[in-house]
Symmetry: D2
Subunit: 363 residues, 4 copies
Amino acid sequence: MATPVRRAAVVGATGVAGQQFLVSLGQHPWLKVRRLAASERSAGKKYRDAIKDASSGATRWFCDEPCPKECLDITVEDAEKLVLDDIDIVFTAIESDAAKVVEPICAKRVPVISTASAFRYEADVPVFLPGVNIDHAALIAVQQKNRGWKGFISPGPNCTTVGLAISLKPLHDRFGITSVIMTSMQAVSGAGRSPGVLSYDILDNVIPYIPKEEEKVQTETQKILGKLTGDAIVPAPFNVSCTCTRVNVIDGHTEAVFVGLQKKASLDDIIAAWAEGFKDFLKLKLPSAPPELIHYTSEPFRPQPRLDRGLYDGMATVIGRLRNDNVLPNGVKYVLLSHNTKMGAAKGAVLTAEYLIQRGVIK
Amino acid sequence: MATPVRRAAVVGATGVAGQQFLVSLGQHPWLKVRRLAASERSAGKKYRDAIKDASSGATRWFCDEPCPKECLDITVEDAEKLVLDDIDIVFTAIESDAAKVVEPICAKRVPVISTASAFRYEADVPVFLPGVNIDHAALIAVQQKNRGWKGFISPGPNCTTVGLAISLKPLHDRFGITSVIMTSMQAVSGAGRSPGVLSYDILDNVIPYIPKEEEKVQTETQKILGKLTGDAIVPAPFNVSCTCTRVNVIDGHTEAVFVGLQKKASLDDIIAAWAEGFKDFLKLKLPSAPPELIHYTSEPFRPQPRLDRGLYDGMATVIGRLRNDNVLPNGVKYVLLSHNTKMGAAKGAVLTAEYLIQRGVIK
Amino acid sequence: MATPVRRAAVVGATGVAGQQFLVSLGQHPWLKVRRLAASERSAGKKYRDAIKDASSGATRWFCDEPCPKECLDITVEDAEKLVLDDIDIVFTAIESDAAKVVEPICAKRVPVISTASAFRYEADVPVFLPGVNIDHAALIAVQQKNRGWKGFISPGPNCTTVGLAISLKPLHDRFGITSVIMTSMQAVSGAGRSPGVLSYDILDNVIPYIPKEEEKVQTETQKILGKLTGDAIVPAPFNVSCTCTRVNVIDGHTEAVFVGLQKKASLDDIIAAWAEGFKDFLKLKLPSAPPELIHYTSEPFRPQPRLDRGLYDGMATVIGRLRNDNVLPNGVKYVLLSHNTKMGAAKGAVLTAEYLIQRGVIK
Amino acid sequence: MATPVRRAAVVGATGVAGQQFLVSLGQHPWLKVRRLAASERSAGKKYRDAIKDASSGATRWFCDEPCPKECLDITVEDAEKLVLDDIDIVFTAIESDAAKVVEPICAKRVPVISTASAFRYEADVPVFLPGVNIDHAALIAVQQKNRGWKGFISPGPNCTTVGLAISLKPLHDRFGITSVIMTSMQAVSGAGRSPGVLSYDILDNVIPYIPKEEEKVQTETQKILGKLTGDAIVPAPFNVSCTCTRVNVIDGHTEAVFVGLQKKASLDDIIAAWAEGFKDFLKLKLPSAPPELIHYTSEPFRPQPRLDRGLYDGMATVIGRLRNDNVLPNGVKYVLLSHNTKMGAAKGAVLTAEYLIQRGVIK
């Protein structure tokens, strides 16, 4: 039986992440963009005009893929006054402060799939990662009851958490994780306008600090791999310690991971765990899902962001350089690559929406 | 009393590292370049001609600093036939295979300070790091006796080991190190022609593997921080686990370090250890020594290779982002920056020579 | 009527340009790769083994696209002893010195489509650029007669000439060109191992000289746009003056062009000339041809190599920033972008082959 | 006789160009920074606090050189209310819109040396370039009379004009210029926040448009090389046609220049003109002047921004690749490099101030 089409609104549609939503939803078999919202300044304009720079005439479109044609003539609405009568699902791509205001307004009526961190750390808000923790879905009813909402807010993880948590999930299930140390080398496409990263700071450079990033990764990884017990998620019982840096790469976060395990596992055991860890999820063949969530490579110089970020349109976590580690108990170490603006942002959020639709959480 | 001037030869003088030796020895108060050697192809040419590219007429000089004028008219000799009668010390900057042949020939007669790895892992060869392990100097007599040499071979550490071992030394002395995890983000100036790093591979990219680098760092760190006991160095009793990567930076290796300690230490204790750890060495005021071996900064976005590698002409290890780590026992973590072609190569080797002269090991 | 399939050999198959041939010929409707040749060192190995780096185990495959599976098990032959009995066409991707030896051996028997410059400047050798100068095909009979060959050699233009000559062709036909000044900003993927461009030279840098490049562009542009008169090409009667530089871009040559014209032309006239200049060629709908040879854009900040090089799989010349110039007579100026390793190399050569097949020059 | 010390104010002191003024004026023998001004937001804070980022604690200091210590404790004033009673000269480094308001307020009382373009194109405002056009100084009296000011406004040229006009001056004086075509490859340090250049746009890219830049260069070059006749500057009688692009370089603008001349000149004539063109100016030995204004190199791969921008602390125009051009009449072509944030901005403005002091224009 064919899945009926849901009508979607994209909030923050003129920004980078919003445009990635438009691309991810173009030609989507289950989801159709009906409404676009942005800041007051863009409201009332056709989308094609809202992304024109007035002084230079340049089109401010940030994706490699073209804008779906059907979006160009939609009239942009003010995010705070967005009409939801004919909308089944809202995707938001806005700053955290704006999200705190706009997302609850929408969630009163419809499900909100968000890339913002605003609600990520609230006790009644699950942070879904496709294939990893759909069992946290029961928290949605708690959230709706707590807040008196018909809809709900479902924020995705930080882009740096995504690949890490996916790589850890099968290891935790099979061998039990005791500790994680991770150093990230993150692409600039996620940098936005954070202090410390001016336009040319990254040339011939590494920026060794990304404000709040390490805390986010540490907290989110434990939450995502945690266990829903009663009405609450008990964080996964291992510590995560990170150093997050920015390097001169456009797209694709590279992470050097060191993991301690409860049970001794050979490198082949680890590879097998990754290969088999997401079988049930992959069988669903969701529209945005890749054929593998983890692609393991034995090529010694891989993964590399420029060569590997595009695999399955950026929806796979590519892992290589698997070795034993002699510091952590039963330690293994590896390098992973995750596309920060595909699986790590809008397209990952669309995949989450598909999963929630498939499971009946979104009607 | 003024130190008398020693007469030096530089072997491998036309390559990048050899040129860095020329710059480091230009105007040196204790050392004067008398002879230059390179491959057979350059032998017999004046140095100024040996660094000319015949087909394009370009000068192949790789340093920011100009070539010391007195070197330009020296006639380059064949490395394997270098005359040593009027030479007190030899600096070598050649590939490992060539070093295996050339360095013993020289060491029969005079001290050889080397940047090659050829002899680094032999039991009777110390790997000096200025300020860290001059007490290993007693091994030189063992080496001379074993091999029947008047001189000796003293190879410097791998460039990635240098900053790490310097940062660990004061912590090991005061608090006892139990384990080290490190991820490096290394500059391309040290890449040479290693497989996997073609000319444009590094643009918009991270290369997650540098052949043999991790093993070198792990082994050398334990050797350098080890204890000379009888005629042998007992490696420091902690494990080191690394992931070494190449990033799009010209000069300056960045390293994210996680350290476990025997004794609990506050962050202020750590900073104090770094500040006080090299006092005796710094008091010597050796010609190439920086005013601090470790420069600690509390600026949140530092160290950065482009901004910090030039401090004290690349002779300091710049450390920042000191934090507690919750994975390793009594763990701390930090980010360090070390200039791979200054303290990490030729100028570091010159500093070692100064130290050995000052201590009377080199007469 | 379907075009019958020709059997192709690729010489220089393990190098970058050779691999681009394999990708360009994968799934080709008219051409099928039957034989692969490379240097003696690779001869006798299966292709999948010939591209393995023995010491590191890394696969030396340089394209974004995967290697066509059917090529992996072909046994590589020694280029100088390549069997041609069952081959209809040879594609060569080798250095100029090797081309001088290998290409005539092949051309005695079959057509050779080459990316090397070895024969480009010989009087009886046409330099085809698809859509621009198929009328030079009559020179092939002259070449065959001169040299007593059954086949012939057809070298493509230098990658920097390609976009320039395509952009000039419709202007020369309609308005008559009197002079051309051009400054190129070239990608590093074409740099090979030319002196002056070591591995990290291009970081934070511009290299203002590419040996022989300017002469090539100047000579080839006049030859390609020249007129076949009797048995010889009379070069186009205008001077071309270039400065060729290398910039920090992976793929895609950007060129700032200033053109003087015989007849005054409005900017709209120019745009119309580009739009209409290749109609007949485009009607052929050759398998590798793009829907437009020139894509003109009025976006003020375009073309940009990263955003525009991928258009039509790198087979279009993207032109923008069209303006009047007040220095040259009836002057116009514009910026063009051409993909140096697609239309500017192997895939452009494949398009030439298709054109020659369609015209019956290759049987 | 020693030059007496002038008391200086720097307006826009917290921005990049303002900080470059502080560095250029640190330890200056003739000029001493007394007052600093910035936007209202910084007013009332000590300078050391005004450059702290409140949320992250990072110091927002953008120069490689440290901030002169004596500046750190100066209390920043509101630019529009700056006290001038004890100030002899004002240096401004602010946006054009702000300059239109602030600079006339200051110029009523004291000389204003500006990096803004706000007044550059007014008929009674000279655009001084040290060594090139001090004879335009007579225009200052006209400006003072016209506007009833005791001081005056002296804006420096656009950074891209600087190297071009310096390279052209000796050629125009000796041989007469008839036409100029120039393509620039500009560094990102001058990009500011112009539309079209977001933070990562420049990675693996060239941006072929810099709004208003080409018009500025064309107009300013003619003005700077023009002749003061009566109360007005008659622009130099040759056309200039430019394409200005942005490349992935931190500092240093590279320009490919093609020049037509009235009189035939050999390449040696050109080199001699450059060598001798600024003799009188260089004899003055002004504190910020380099030993050569033009440094000509015959190295084929030079100038390169990374290797050559630092020559004489960025105050020289480095020229190479001199060749004949066969398109423009008596044409020559060359490549120049000029440091956009040193001679092309604050330090160039300080050199202008020195020149005006030396000539008695500033008392």
